[in-house]
């Protein structure tokens, strides 16, 4: 049916028009407020960050490429950037296999009566606040690692804090994000594809490897990117266990040849711990806003990358 076939004399709904128009304005204005909120983040964080290089006369080199941070004269954030990226990398190393395992299990292998309660349990994970994860990290993971590492090293060298417990905590924080999004991506793969593969004599694992995973890859990547964003931005949970030390997290210890993911600082915890000492207009204050801006830029890039993968999704 064609809309032009409706008679030209449509009844005009006069009474509603003013209310209708104002309603529309309210709805559009609300949408604009959300856009305004994003614009404010970029504008205010950006303009504050800019003062580091104008008002405080720090050079970009001294800020980004130096690793000395004493909060008085030197404000080099290189180690915090490295710390943040190392945290993301190590967490992904744990989280991606685990969450893909969970997603594949839920989507392809779980019996129907396990699938639904388990999915709900995973979603419950999403609701647990980061401060609880931090607390568990502090009273369970850190003592456990302290004992384990000292046992392996044969002496009391480690206090258990550092990048490793932070990565373990963050792993379980980003796991539900990656797992649920990957699960949805796998569920979106048409059943016919699986049936075709199985009918050719492929085993279930061959079907997963050869059909389901490749077809779901863009969706899985979206989940991983969101996980990266969350790992990078996580503050409080990491603050509990990171050890807050301004040095490289990765290295071999002096006395023991183990790869040591020890105490360090990341961008977010640096903000958290230092901001209370910063008076407005001081170099420290401006430098912290520049750290903020670095975080904003990285998360903007992550959004762009996730949009790229979202655009490549075939099955939705």
């Amino acid at each position: 049916m064609n809309t032009t076939s409706i008679p030209a004399k449509r009844p005009r709904l006069r009474r509603g028009t003013i209310a209708d128009a104002s309603g529309r304005i309210v709805f559009v204005a609300s949408a604009l407020i959300i856009i305004l909120a994003m614009a404010m983040v970029y504008y205010f964080v950006g303009s504050q960050a800019y003062q580091t290089f104008t008002q405080s006369r720090l050079s970009a080199g001294a800020f980004f490429l130096s690793h000395t941070w004493d909060a008085e004269e030197n404000f080099g954030i290189l180690y915090f950037i490295i710390g943040s990226f190392a945290l993301v990398l190590v967490s992904l190393l744990f989280a991606v296999p685990l969450s893909l395992g969970v997603a594949i299990f839920l989507s392809e292998a779980a019996p129907a009566r396990i699938r639904s309660p388990m999915r709900k349990a995973i979603e419950l994970f999403l609701g647990i606040p980061s401060v609880i994860f931090g607390l568990i990290g502090l009273i369970v993971v850190v003592p456990l690692l302290r004992r384990l590492m000292n046992f392996l090293a044969g002496g009391i060298f480690f206090n258990g804090f550092g990048l490793l417990p932070a990565a373990i905590v963050v792993t379980f924080m980003i796991l539900p994000t990656i797992a649920t999004i990957s699960y949805d991506a796998m569920q979106a793969v048409p059943r016919e594809l699986r049936e075709g593969s199985l009918a050719m004599g492929a085993t279930r694992w061959q079907t997963i490897r050869g059909i389901v995973l490749p077809a779901a890859t863009p969706g899985i990547m979206t989940g991983v990117i969101l996980g990266i964003a969350r790992a990078l931005g996580e503050t409080v949970a990491v603050a509990f266990v990171i050890g807050n030390s301004q040095r490289l997290p990765i290295g071999l210890t002096h006395f023991y040849p183990y790869l040591y993911l020890g105490p360090t600082s990341v961008l977010t915890t640096q903000l958290l711990f230092n901001f209370k000492e910063a008076t407005q207009g001081s170099t420290l204050y401006n430098a912290l806003w520049t750290i903020c801006f670095v975080l904003v830029v990285i998360s903007g890039v992550l959004v762009a990358v996730s949009r790229f993968f979202a655009g490549r999704r075939v099955y939705k």
Binding site: D20, A109, L124, G127, I128
Partner: protein, 301 residues
Amino acid sequence: MTATADRGPSAARQHLRERRRDARNTVALWVIAGFVVAVLLYIIGYTLVRGLGNVTWKFLTSGDFASGIAPQLFNTVYILILSMIPMLLIGISAAIYTVEYARQGALLRVLRFATETLTSMPSIVIGLLGFLLFVTNFGTGARWEFSRLAGALTLAILNLPWMMRTAEDALRAVPYSIREASFALGATKLQTVLRSVLPASLPGLVTGTLIVSGRVIGETAALIYTSGVAGASSGWFNLSLTHVPGDTLAVHIYTLFADNPTPAAQQGQTATAVVLIVLILGLNLLARFFERRLGRRFSGT
């Protein structure tokens, strides 16, 4: 006879190998899934076991540092309510715009980009923005100081995109036939939205609101520099919006960690964690309940 047998012994062997690999990997999947669920249960169970003994009536109703959380309970609920008011109004309105009004275009694209950007932003960044906007008010004379209104508005900015997204889902779940019926009766667009679509989406909206409330209650990083970390002080039980700082349960757990962790502080920490977990689990269960209960009522089955 299987197809592989025709292709000779090597094909059969390969088939057998694939079968074994399949079995092995299936076991691995079960192990991973079991491990993850075990960790989840452990996190909740361990917190409950460690802290439940210290959650006494006195702990819930008195206001001393580490020995009582009455001020924190009050602040949590107060900030939650304060932040939900603007969030519900703006979030649902914006969702109505995207679902009912918006046509594909620049505005919708920018809005999507804005919500995605805001949801992936570290919450500490939003917290510091809140500090700049509300606590110092750009360094003007009208400083609000660390205050519960500053915290609530910061949380509103932080969670607006989530609220909008769940409201969008709720509105989309309303069948198109309801809108058509309303239009057929001569209702205008606004009447249709307010009197037909919105009531029909109520179960989804309630569920979404409860889940977002859980996020609000659990937030810490965005509050430390907006509503402040001040412990119980005299006069916490007042409704002053500005100039009176107020730490929530989540912030309290962090504060107890940051100020030297004594055994007493750790007891208070785990006990507060229990209260927080119970609150959030309660909200989640309530959300599920509403989803099922109201969903059934409105779908008419």
